[in-house]
């Protein structure tokens, strides 16, 4: 993960190089890969065992006591939904803005999005305790006398998250089809048959591309407001409640910004090792790292602004409970989490003002880890200390994590990485078509004008 030996620019790679470099990453992996896989599977098994234990003995195993009924599960749920933001932002918003640098990272980011939302989706089930009644969450008129309350932000959330997962999966699959066709054309035997089915017989004819391109543009146009809306809706889960520190119109942009911030950090955490492992230096260049680092820096600054606003609003509102809530967060039992969040999210990313460090793989990696920790604690700080100190002293209470819920949280990371590790070995984790699109097109006579998007 150290600096690459030789920085070649994308201009040197040809279209055939792209096919070769991407296809060679698929197939029989080495021992290191299996070692990682085993480790991740073990951690996941521990998480699954913890979940089984929680189902057996009941939700009390997760350390949930009044008033801390949301605790770590909803914290981690919001964290994973946030992680899932970068993928569709890259594939939809940056597509519409014709940001060429997206092409090298968008496949990895999209996979990350789908897997992150799949991980997040586990938490309402885990949190609900009796997960075999999970279908009761689906809001439709029913014969069980359950009232589908469409005025509840939790119901909005069901719609927002399911829509986001579905559209992200559609984006992911639509982008993969032409790439799988390239895999098919390179494969033999049973693999060829499997890829032929998965590629839907894609041939790249003008007829297919014409509809494909138009559809892709329209999907991007639909997904753009979705990206912004999904975390806004998640923030309504808090902002619609009256709990001090939650009931704020600041929440939707605050959540969306934080989501993009943590999403890009996770993209870097995944992309940087892949770049070193697969030797993708010609495709994921310093320019890409620089662009991502700048985005992290900007979102960090915006987040800091929101943090300041939050404190200012509490003070300026004159509301006793708002002020007390902020004071409790900053000085009581959870103060360490509060200041850790500020340090990770507002102080550490400032390093990225130094141009050289924006392209330094190790520095970026370390900063990304800090950002992920900081963003997990941001959600923790909203939920746990928020509920620990609301209106009446008799409802105040401290939450203590248990082995069970901690193991489930760590297990969710294992589940996410297991999905991702599986993906990079069976599917192209760099988009063959889109990377080729931004390379100079082969021309015989005219002067090369470079790729378009």
């Amino acid at each position: 993960m150290s600096a690459p030996p030789a920085q070649s620019s994308t201009a040197q790679a040809t279209w055939a190089d792209v096919n070769r470099d991407v296809i060679r990453t698929i197939g029989m992996p080495g021992e290191k890969y299996f070692a990682w896989l085993c480790l991740v599977a073990l951690v996941l098994a521990a998480g699954a065992a913890a979940w089984a234990w929680q189902i057996w003995v009941g939700i009390g195993a997760a350390g949930k006591r009044t008033p801390q009924m949301w605790a770590m599960y909803i914290t981690t749920f919001v964290f994973w939904i946030g992680i899932g933001h970068a993928g569709t932002l890259i594939s939809a918003v940056l597509y519409l803005f014709r940001a060429k640098w997206r092409t090298s990272i968008y496949r990895g980011a999209e996979a990350m999005t789908v897997f992150a939302v799949m991980t997040a989706g586990l938490f309402p089930l885990i949190h609900a305790g009796r997960m075999w009644f999970a279908y009761w969450l689906m809001p439709y008129p029913n014969q069980r006398y359950l009232w589908p309350n469409f005025k509840s932000p939790l119901v909005w959330d069901v719609f927002a998250i399911s829509t986001y997962l579905t559209i992200s999966v559609v984006f992911f699959i639509v982008g993969l089809v032409p790439d799988i066709a390239a895999l098919r054309d390179n494969a033999t035997g049973y693999k060829r048959k499997i890829y032929a089915v998965l590629s839907l017989g894609w041939e790249g004819s003008d007829h297919q591309w014409r509809h494909y391109r138009r559809a892709y543009g329209l999907l991007a146009a639909l997904a753009t407001p979705l990206v912004l809306s999904v975390h806004s809706v998640v923030s309504f889960d808090f902002a619609m409640a009256l709990v001090p520190g939650w009931h704020s119109t600041l929440f939707p942009p605050f959540f969306v910004d934080g989501a993009i911030f943590s999403g890009f950090a996770m993209v870097l955490v995944l992309i940087l090792p892949m770049r070193a492992l697969f030797n993708w230096y010609p495709y994921i260049t310093d320019r890409h790292l620089d662009a991502m680092a700048k985005l992290i820096l900007v979102t960090s600054l915006v987040l800091t602004y929101f943090y300041v606003c939050e404190v200012f609003t509490a003070w300026y509102s004159g509301d006793h409970f708002e002020r007390a809530s902020v004071f409790a967060k900053a000085s009581q039992q959870y103060a360490w989490a509060y200041w850790l969040m500020y340090f990770c999210n507002s102080v550490v990313p400032l390093v990225l003002f130094v141009k050289k460090l924006r392209t330094h793989a190790v520095v970026l990696y370390v900063i990304s880890i800090f950002v992920l920790i900081g963003m997990w604690f941001e959600r923790f700080n909203i939920i746990v200390p928020g509920l620990a100190h609301d209106f009446y002293p008799y409802t105040w209470g401290t939450y203590y994590p248990t082995v069970t819920d901690s193991a489930i949280i760590v297990g969710s990371f294992a589940w996410f990485f297991l999905l991702f590790l599986g993906f990079i070995r069976v599917m192209p984790s760099l988009s063959i078509v889109e990377v080729k699109e931004v390379l100079p097109h082969p021309l015989k006579h005219a002067t090369p004008t470079g790729g378009h998007h």
């Binding site: 279209w15 055939a16 096919n19 439709y140 008129p141 009232w147 589908p148 309350n149 469409f150 005025k151 119901v155 909005w156 719609f159 927002a160 399911s162 829509t163 579905t166 559209i167 559609v170 699959i173 639509v174 089809v177 032409p178 066709a181 390239a182 098919r184 054309d185 089915v197 017989g201 894609w202 041939e203 790249g204 004819s205 003008d206 007829h207 297919q208 591309w209 014409r210 509809h211 494909y212 391109r213 138009r214 559809a215 329209l218 999907l219 639909l222 997904a223 407001p225 979705l226 809306s229 809706v233 078509v433 889109e434 080729k436 699109e437 082969p442 021309l443 015989k444 005219a446 378009h452």
Partner: protein
């Protein structure tokens, strides 16, 4: 008894491919299939001159509006089944329902757009075209021409003159 023959020209460059399309069109051959490894804007412009505008957007708008209608229908109808006043709000309160309608607009609009790729692009394609070549997913362009058998030579010479690397029937 076939009345049409298929001639394929394989090209290595965008400009030669474009030249071949223009030359063939000028000579009156309109039944062309162009294979490209990536979508190429110049070639798309050339194709768009004769092809009608893609109907994908029709799918999108129908899907999206169905979503909006479903969202409002589901929420209003359910609320009328459970006529409960909560938070001082009438059972049918439009503002929160807009969120459901918005999400379903995007959901069904997106799914209909994906469906359009399948329906309009005629996917899945169960049998590969006779003129398809695996190189078309790497770095070669193909121009396949369906023409009467007596015109094959004319097509072949046009493709070669435009700069085809390889011409075959």
């Amino acid at each position: 008894m076939t009345t049409t023959a298929n001639v394929l020209g394989v090209f290595a460059h965008v400009d030669t491919t474009l030249q071949a399309i223009r030359d063939l069109r000028a000579k009156g051959f309109s039944n062309l299939t162009v294979y490209t490894p990536v979508p190429v804007e110049e070639i798309e412009h050339e194709i768009d001159k004769v092809e009608p505008l893609s109907k994908v957007r029709l799918f999108t708008v129908i899907g999206a509006l169905t979503g909006t209608a479903t969202g409002f229908f589901l929420t209003i109808w359910s609320s009328l089944k459970w006529e409960l006043v909560t938070g001082g709000k009438a059972p049918v309160s439009i503002p929160p329902f807009v969120i459901i309608a918005f999400e379903l607009t995007i959901l069904l609009g997106g799914l209909a757009t994906a469906l359009a790729i399948l329906v309009l692009g005629q996917l899945p394609k169960l049998k590969p075209s006779s003129t398809y070549d695996p190189r078309f997913s790497v770095d070669r362009f193909g121009v396949a021409v369906a023409c009467p058998p007596d015109k094959v030579e004319s097509v072949q010479s046009t493709l070669t003159a435009a700069g085809a690397e390889e011409v075959r029937r």
